[in-house]
Symmetry: C2
Subunit: 316 residues, 2 copies
């Protein structure tokens, strides 16, 4: 059967989404993704459960489009990290999925420390590319979004977790195991009231991620932001405090890497950018002019589709 | 007159050092530097004062070696940063020298915001290379020191200021204005008791640099460390607190860049490495295994000569 599609897989701490791009599509513009399916990320069962979920969703998307998985030419997987390669093949060791990494006390229903992904997908498809979700989103934003033409830039997601993809001197940073960009695990304050899925206490992700907001304040991010908008003083203080923490992390990236622009996406941020963007910028603007002059903090140019386009950027 | 020497210039917040390397020396090993002269960094007079000091020291070193400045083939300048290029040529905008950047209240005797360096040196010598001191030291450590053969590594100085040079995927990070590596200006805690030369309150350099130790505790770093060694409980708590701050900054670099090794130099660190190294390592070891497993924190392989070798690495 002739190859018809690229399968684009976005694995996050909350949901897994699969969509299809036509294998013959023009690669110069953002891909037209179709037959998208999304489910809550599987977090129980054997460690193979997540890759089985991905395989099932790809087959279902192809069936929805009137075909089969055999018509998939390539699979791009954009996933939260970090990754490990215990057998030379990529497995996910993501604190937002694998409770065995330290978050048992946060009530995740598994004791996983890593999840096979490259091996089961390569058994099923001729070409598989798996990359950190923020690095893949950085590719998408540089190709089709808010980071076009920039050699010194980063993509940051403010979602279930906090992640970054980094580009300096036109080079996408990979690091010794391809895990560069886990700046969500930076420490930027002394607040030790929150446990991260990675086992640390008080890192950025522990304090401000979507799952952290729910754990710390007992309500989801959207509800907190709505209360702040409605004039609730405590909620507004909490939003200010969240933006102080993430804004300091962004500032740390600017002075460490001398960036031109950071684009931000993720479900927590994109729904509330008018509230959050000025507060994040306030942590950067006016500080250490030789590093911050000429720097811009912007919303993801690809908006809500940045995560799907991230997966597509790996194969289209 | 035939070219006989490379002039190697180290500009720091406390001293300026000039030494000579023979232009015909074997570049495979660390250079044999000779006729070294060192003076306190000039911090008063017109903004040209510092470049005049450098020119005078180069001439004096050549005279000491029985020649003249006309016999210098190339000048390598390893300087604390950041740099700016208001006229397209490098000027120094270093918070540890230029009090006009924010540190007036710290009592520096000038209102400089930047100092010309590239233009006056290029007027005097046929070839001039000026680079951030930690980036130059990173080159030296990768070539002759503790970072040989490593593609994911950093050099960190703990001296009058705090600086870093960063290498990821074999690429030395430069950034939009060549100022990548100013990670000493990261925020890693909520301590707002100390003002940095850059104008910020409570960044890493404000809390732990050599000049910060003197300002905050009223005694120099060596005296503080000696008291800690002698069992002074308060001094030991202060040393622990310093190492917590700098160690968190190092951890932030490891998770952001997925590094294999960091080597540390600088006058504060190198004289006290047996006291400081275990305390710094304690902030990294055992955290987020997928990033820190296989990572090493070590003392600069070039030891006390790392700063001079840094300048040499630019021209030898």
């Amino acid at each position: 059967m002739a190859a018809r599609w690229h399968a684009c897989v976005d694995i996050g701490g909350t949901k897994v989404a699969v969509s299809l791009a036509d294998a013959t599509a023009d690669p110069s513009g953002p891909p037209l993704l179709h037959h998208r399916l999304s489910e809550p990320t599987v977090k129980s069962g054997p460690p193979e459960a997540l890759s089985l979920q991905v395989l099932r969703l790809i087959d279902a998307a192809c069936a929805g489009a009137g075909g089969t998985g055999a018509q998939v030419a390539a699979v791009g997987v954009s996933s939260c990290g970090p990754f490990v390669k215990p057998q030379g093949l990529i497995e996910l060791a993501a604190p937002n999925i694998c409770a065995g990494l330290g978050a048992r006390s946060a009530g995740q229903p598994n004791d996983w420390t890593s999840l096979p992904m490259q091996a089961p997908l390569e058994d099923a498809f001729p070409l598989v590319r798996i990359e950190n979700d923020c690095l893949a989103a950085l590719r998408a934003e540089r190709r089709w979004g808010a980071l076009q033409g920039l050699d010194h830039c980063a993509y940051v997601t403010w979602s279930t977790g906090i992640g970054t993809g980094l580009c300096v001197d036109g080079h996408l940073l990979q690091g010794k195991n391809g895990n560069a960009g886990h700046a969500g695990h930076m420490f930027v304050s002394d607040d030790e009231s929150a446990l991260c899925g990675c086992g640390n206490v008080g890192d950025v992700e522990a304090l401000v991620s979507g799952s952290a907001i729910a754990r710390r304040f007992g309500l989801d991010a959207a509800t907190l932001m709505a209360a702040a908008r409605a004039g609730d003083t405590l909620a507004l203080q909490q939003v200010d405090a969240l933006c102080r923490v993430l804004g300091r992390a962004l500032y740390n990236l600017v002075v460490t890497l001398d960036l031109q622009r950071i684009s931000i996406g993720g479900s927590v941020f994109l729904r509330q950018q008018d509230l959050l963007l000025p507060r994040l910028r306030a942590q950067i603007t006016g500080r250490l002019a030789s590093l911050t002059d000429g720097f811009e903090l912007v919303a993801a140019g690809l908006g809500d589709s940045v995560a799907d386009c991230a997966a597509a950027a790996l194969v289209v």
